[in-house]
């Protein structure tokens, strides 16, 4: 177990290093003069040159990378690099604020969206997947299969816009104001409003994501229903509910956990389209804004945070599936 943990940690470090390196190089290539972002519009060449000198933007890329990772931006005269504790992700060129603060501000909205949608679609997918596996080829299996492939082939923005059209626009016209059209209310302010604002985006994500997942649950469960230990469960006198939702699901859980972890991890990096459509000010929107303005430190920071979530969640799933025993 210790060996496994150490090995995984080493992989995490290597992955994250690679992510920093690649995004750093890409942003240096894509955005060739951040000095203009920082300077006022009418700045002279001298001003630009002095900004470049202050931020080290005139240095070769490896020196810049070194400063980013170890020294940190020299704005307040304190070392604040990535490798410090707590790590600093630099300063936004555009808003002149620490990237770490920007991301921490947006994290609750993205996490609420991602975790809520994840819990909902896992529940839906697992229940429908196990029920479909009980009678493969039966009515429920066929219906869920059609729904799964239909929703899978409709892009999330279509689903989202349709949801807004029907459940917000049409209902509002009829004088019923069940759901807001968008926005985000922090949980700490009002749990009720928080949920009310998130229901439509959650539904959009669940509709798009549960289909393939339900098929995976179905096939994983189907794979174990012929196993001897399922017959043992029946021979103990257990009812079909326990046999399927406990014994079969637990036997089939490893692939489901692994794929679920990957899906959750990629959502934690920001659900870009969904956040845009529902006006949720999360990490996804932050990333889009930064990428379109050329705000390189924010782009690197958001990518890195997404990568950290990804490796942490997938590593956690690996350790959990390992700790579950079996083989």
């Amino acid at each position: 177990m210790t060996r496994l943990v150490l090995g995984r940690l080493l992989r995490v470090v290597i992955t994250l290093t690679a992510v920093v390196l690649i995004t750093f190089l890409l942003t240096t290539v894509a955005y060739n003069d951040p000095a203009r972002l920082i300077a006022p519009d009418n700045a002279t060449e001298e001003t630009l040159a002095s900004i470049r000198a202050t931020f080290g933007l005139d240095q070769p890329w490896w020196v810049q990378l070194w400063r980013y990772a170890v020294v940190g931006p020299p704005i307040q005269g304190v070392a604040t690099g990535l490798l410090n504790v707590p790590p600093s992700l630099g300063y936004s060129y555009v808003s002149q604020r620490p990237v770490t603060d920007l991301i921490l501000e947006k994290l609750p909205a993205t996490a609420s969206l991602a975790l809520g949608a994840f819990v909902l679609w896992m529940l839906v997918a697992v229940v429908l997947g196990v029920l479909a596996a009980r009678r493969p080829g039966g009515p429920l299996d066929r219906i869920t299969s059609v729904i799964a492939y239909t929703t899978l082939s409709v892009p999330v923005f279509v689903v989202a816009v349709l949801l807004i059209f029907v459940l917000y626009f049409q209902l509002s016209l009829a004088g019923i104001h069940l759901f807001p059209s968008g926005g985000y209310v922090p949980f700490s302010e009002s749990p009720g409003e928080w949920a009310r604002h998130l229901i439509l985006p959650w539904t959009a994500l669940v509709l798009v994501q549960f289909g393939p997942f339900q098929r995976i649950v179905r096939s994983s469960v189907l794979e174990v229903t012929g196993k001897d230990y399922i017959r043992t469960a029946t021979a103990k006198g257990l009812g079909p509910g326990r046999v399927y939702f406990d014994h079969a699901l637990s036997g089939a859980a490893n692939p489901i956990l692994t794929l679920g972890g990957i899906e959750l991890a990629s959502l934690m990096g920001g659900a870009i389209v969904t956040e845009q459509i529902f006006g949720i000010d999360g990490i996804g929107r932050l990333a889009v804004r930064a990428a379109s303005t050329g705000d390189a430190p924010v782009v690197i920071g958001v990518t890195l945070v997404g990568a950290v979530f990804f490796v942490l969640i997938t590593t956690l799933v690996d350790l959990v599936t390992h700790a579950r025993g079996g083989r």
């Binding site: 001897d228 230990y229 017959r231 006198g237 014994h247």
Partner: protein, 540 residues
């Protein structure tokens, strides 16, 4: 009083094209409370299917006839009432405990669940019940066992856990489907003893499903012989074994005798010549280790024995003792780390390495192998004749005509019908496949044949024919045969000498009548005690 009764039970499976495939056509049996009935037959005879279908454990099976338990008709019983019987009044033990226990649940929790399904109780009461069940099956005193996952336990421990689950609610009937087949011989005997102890203390009736008349005879009061989905003979166990009426039962008795030790002791070696010539295979001080992580773990060490021309030497031991490793080294398919291995006077290279040692074609021709499973060891795309001629590469001097006549010659020696030479493996029976494998091995005129568990994948009746064939080849072709097996009954029947491998290495070696008659090692005695005897119940 009859507790459990099948009368004219039939089972059919729906096929894809709408018709049904019959699996069982007419099986009847009756078990009285506290008694044991064995249902015996070969694989595919329908013995397991009958009992699973009767108790509703076969999804999709169409069951006809009647199955009554304690006055209740099981066929057509509503699921809720059937569930109240399963696990409570009828307990089950299945063949392979490795696949029948849930891999992701701790075994203690699996036993506790069996208790909780049928009775309410506090956490402490259930825990106490689990502890007493573990004690009942001889697993007490080890607190770690309840917290272990099945993969962390040995085969015998796992089967004891299965038995604890089966008796969790003091059932009136236990249905045990090949409960010892997946276990090593010494474990097999102790599990059979456990069944008997449970029966004596709880008055439980047992239906034992087995392919082995030896196991059935050791435990059962009555025996029902099933073939092709019908009962061919049934009766009181002792009478049926000593005077079988049906020819098929006689066949099963002969097969069981093969696996049992002869009542009057092993006859002295029938080797025609032995010590007169140099041995074909000479092994001494053989050692082999495998890489396990960064270190190497020894598999075998200090192995030494000879195999003479015209004799069969058996290499016995339980699974994991390194028998197959020795066989592969003797066949020149693996390096030995150290020691001397000589085939026909030529010493094989030794090295601490993996891979196949380079041997000359002449030497390759001297030793040939027959593998365990003829269903996987034959190339499905090749005809029997092509398979047999595979080894022509080691006889480059043989022309086409020689190869063709040699194929016919060895096919005849292996008692393989010439009409089968153009067939492919899927058109052959298990016995015909293993004869093909033997003919293939005989093709290059080897002087040594290594047969690695060459019988264990075959049906009991086929096993006997293959054994007779090996005996015949030893006598007529003057072959030296190294027979790797876990079956001491087979050794007693056919081998001239025996080498016993234990967990600590080579226990002893010598003539079979000497080793079996007066074993010097405690381990050999343990193995011998575990062999079922046809003429009585299990020892102890």
């Amino acid at each position: 009083m009859t507790l459990f009764e099948l009368s004219h039970l039939s089972v059919e499976f729906p096929a894809a094209d709408g018709t049904t495939v019959p699996a069982v056509s007419d099986v009847s049996l009756a078990v009285d409370a506290g008694r044991t009935v064995a249902v015996v037959g070969e694989s595919g005879s329908g013995k397991t299917v009958s009992l699973l279908a009767a108790t509703g454990l076969l999804d999709g099976a169409v069951v006809g006839g009647s199955a009554r338990f304690d006055g209740v008709e099981l066929n057509g019983l509503e699921p809720r009432r059937r569930r109240a019987l399963l696990g409570a009044r009828i307990g089950f033990v299945f063949q392979d405990p490795a696949s029948n226990l849930h891999p992701f649940k701790r075994v203690g929790a699996q036993i506790a669940e069996a208790v909780r399904v049928h009775r309410r109780g506090s956490r402490a009461e259930v825990a106490a019940r689990v502890a007493s069940l573990l004690a009942d099956v001889g697993l007490d005193g080890e607190a770690r066992i309840a917290r272990a996952y099945p993969a962390e336990l040995s085969g015998g421990q796992r089967q004891r856990i299965m038995i604890a689950i089966a008796i969790a609610n003091d059932p009136a009937l236990i249905i045990a489907d090949e409960p010892t087949t997946a276990l090593d011989a010494s474990v097999q005997a102790s599990v059979l003893r456990l069944f008997r102890r449970i029966q004596e203390s709880h008055g439980t009736a047992i239906v034992l499903v087995s392919h082995d008349l030896g196991v059935a005879g050791a435990l059962a009061d009555d025996i029902v012989v099933v073939r092709d989905g019908r009962v061919v003979e049934s009766g009181e166990a002792r009478g049926l074994v000593s005077a079988p009426g049906d020819p098929y039962t006689r066949e099963l008795v002969l097969a069981a005798q093969l696996h049992a030790l002869p009542a009057g002791g092993v006859a002295p070696s029938h080797r025609r010549r032995g010590d007169d010539g140099a041995p074909v295979l000479r092994v001494s001080g053989l050692a082999k280790s495998y890489r396990a992580g960064r270190r190497r773990r020894p598999v075998v060490d200090g192995i030494g024995f000879d195999v003479a021309a015209g004799s069969i030497t058996a290499l016995v031991g339980e699974s994991g003792a390194g028998k197959s490793t020795v066989g592969r080294i003797a066949a020149g398919l693996q390096y030995a780390d150290a020691g001397v291995v000589e085939i026909a006077g030529v010493r094989l290279p030794t090295a601490v390495a993996d891979g196949v040692p380079p041997l000359s074609p002449q030497l390759r021709a001297e030793v040939q192998l027959v593998f365990q499973d003829p269903y996987t060891s034959l190339n499905p795309r090749k005809t029997v004749a092509e398979t047999i001629a595979t080894a022509r590469a080691v006889r480059p001097e043989w022309g086409h005509a020689t190869v063709r006549s040699r194929v016919r010659e060895v096919a005849a020696q292996a008692r393989l019908d010439p009409g089968l030479l153009d067939r492919r493996p899927h058109e052959l029976s298990g016995g015909q496949r293993q004869r093909t494998a033997i003919a293939r091995a005989l093709f290059p005129r080897p002087r040594l044949l290594v047969a690695d568990e060459a019988l264990s994948a075959l049906d009991v009746t086929t096993q006997r024919q293959v054994i007779l064939l090996l005996e015949e080849l030893r006598d007529t072709q003057d072959l030296a045969i190294l027979l790797i097996t876990h079956d001491l009954g087979v050794v007693a029947t056919v081998a001239d000498a025996v080498v016993v491998l234990g967990p600590e290495g080579q226990e002893e070696a010598g003539e079979v009548d000497r080793v079996f008659g007066s074993p010097r090692s405690a381990y050999t005695r343990l193995l011998l005690d575990a062999v079922p005897r046809l003429d009585g119940r299990v020892a102890g």
